[in-house]
Symmetry: C2
Amino acid sequence: MTQVTAADVKELRERTGAAVMDCKGALAEAGGDMDKAVELLRVKGQASAAKRSGRTTSEGVVASYIHANAKVGVLVEVQCETDFVARSDEFQDFAREVAIHIAGSPWPPQVVSADEISEADREAERKVFEAKAKEDGKPDNVVERIVEGQLQKWAKEVALLEQEHVRSDRYEGKTIEDLRAAIASQTGENVRIARFARFVVGQE
Amino acid sequence: MTQVTAADVKELRERTGAAVMDCKGALAEAGGDMDKAVELLRVKGQASAAKRSGRTTSEGVVASYIHANAKVGVLVEVQCETDFVARSDEFQDFAREVAIHIAGSPWPPQVVSADEISEADREAERKVFEAKAKEDGKPDNVVERIVEGQLQKWAKEVALLEQEHVRSDRYEGKTIEDLRAAIASQTGENVRIARFARFVVGQE
């Protein structure tokens, strides 16, 4: 039987965020091979994330963040499955970090996920991109492809989950979805950003 | 010339919230009669409030309040005319007290003022009241009057400005509009509650 050291378990935990028992199991199964253990946990993690994402989230917290001399304020509702997790520091920290991101983002998100963009908003945006592409003298047969690409990029920009957290020093390019998946994995619960509001003084 | 005492000025300030110079002036004009001075200030106050209410409010603050184990959260934008007033403690306190009210109100407001209720919402409510009145066997010729009365009452219940502040011990039945008028008078600026959001976990 493979010897699983505490140092290996620690390293694996840091790399994956998985629970101690899962790290031990994965290291044993991988015969002590760290990269293989990471891979095993990732596959398992995706399986359990898929299972989790269908589960009901009726608990959670509302977090707020007030920024820039009270000129910008954000309210966000983040849901999970149990009150136990809702009360935990790491879950509440996550909710707060999401609020901080929404307040500070230079491209304030308009929806939580890209599939919430209304057809009307998408069409309005499409018209702008089309007009621009034609103005630039692009031939008709490529306009559609260009516009589709721009629309996908735009949808990502306005969708909270697709955005990289503004605190790039702390989160190194991770998106809000990356952080959501991490806290879901860490708590073992389905975590869902339900909604948010962002007020800027004088910009109704 | 009438002798205006510091004690009278203090009492008049407490009763009206007017500025020291205005209190002195009103007491002198009223020949030292306290009730007459209150009346003078009230008339003057209404005149200046009417003047104020047309002025542009491009400054202000966003305030938040998180309640009940982070299960309820409120964001509110309150506007005024200058950044100087926006930064003042009394203005920020007012914004916070409005947020506290919205969070704690047993009848969560749906709009800032009654005239913002959409025609569709009003009609839906009218139908409910009509059905109820007919069910109660009220004769047709009085149903309309009853329903009108109930609609007016309902509009007041869902409009933030019409509600009595939940902290009844502190505000003794004063409505949010009373408090708004008081801070407008105190600061000498047009003060406007622009918008609010209220999130309750699990109640989208």
